[in-house]
Symmetry: C2
Subunit: 146 residues, 2 copies
DNA sequence: GTACAAATGAAAGTTGTTTTTGTTTATACG
DNA sequence: CGTATAAACAAAAACAACTTTCATTTGTAC
């Protein structure tokens, strides 16, 4: 995500355009992978001179609230974030090795949703679908999971 | 889950049959819903006289490790547990109102998996699929989400 | 019954995240 | 271009969920 592009996004969210926010957005834009708040912190610190960890959390929260970044909860009980400005209904293919995240435009749960409703008589409101594996690159190099 | 049944499960896991472990299993067996460790604690305490919260965590960990209970992570960063001895590949339909959990034998992701592999060239290793909604009962009563 | 490994409680520790409070900074407006 | 002011920020402490440690108790095999 380029500087000017980031500024436009921030202004459209009525957020002030500050070096910290731009740095966090750039950081996530450069990696197409998920990062923890602390990892983002380590990456942006040198560029800014200094930034507090709570500030990183606050910025990530704001961006997640605006659906500019997506927050995922992994089984290590940490929250991870990645840039995902795509507002359409979609899911993610996550590489277990390099953490690369790819959008998947396919969902394929409509039929299943109907089936659940038919069988159980309940109502389906949402679903979480995440596909884990190895991206093409890691698969080629036969990388193991970390 | 009845007493003797619980004892059999514990013995097959080479775990000692203790009142605490039986109480935790019974507790989760009675609710067909997910509970937090603390909620389990509150429910089993009166039956046992007393039990420490760390013990509840330990027991839930053991049972989760043995795939007798399933652990889920929700966006409140807490871990929840429910009894699910079903070892077949399946997913869950979770009621957002009463937390009731139903097994779904349908998965329907095989075709999608093939499509992802075809398009991206990566490898799919696993997936998380969880369907949220209202169970038949809550839907009928038009219950809101908590 | 007895011995021994396993289970447990109590208290303290760890970790990821959030709140608080006082200071600094971006932006709108003159 | 100042300047007012609302927002952003740092630092420190607080918080909540969970885990570890270690001394004591309890199942279980013999």
């Amino acid at each position: 995500m380029e500087h000017e592009q980031g500024a436009v996004v921030l202004r459209s969210l009525r957020l002030k355009v500050t070096p910290r926010r731009l740095a966090v957005m750039n950081c996530l834009g450069e990696e197409r992978a998920y990062l923890s708040a602390e990892e983002v912190w380590h990456r942006v610190r040198p560029r800014l001179g200094s930034i507090g960890l709570p500030t990183v959390y606050r910025i990530l929260d704001e961006l997640a609230g605006a659906h500019i970044v997506t927050r995922i909860f992994r089984s290590d009980r940490k929250q991870y974030y990645f840039l995902c400005p795509n507002q359409e209904h979609h899911h993610h293919f996550v590489c277990d090795s390099c953490r690369h995240v790819e959008d998947m435009d396919l969902c394929g749960l409509d039929g299943m949703t109907r089936e659940i409703v038919r069988r159980s008589g309940g109502r389906v409101l949402s679903h979480i679908l995440q596909v884990n594996g190895l991206c093409a690159e890691c698969s080629k190099q036969n990388r193991e999971m970390p």
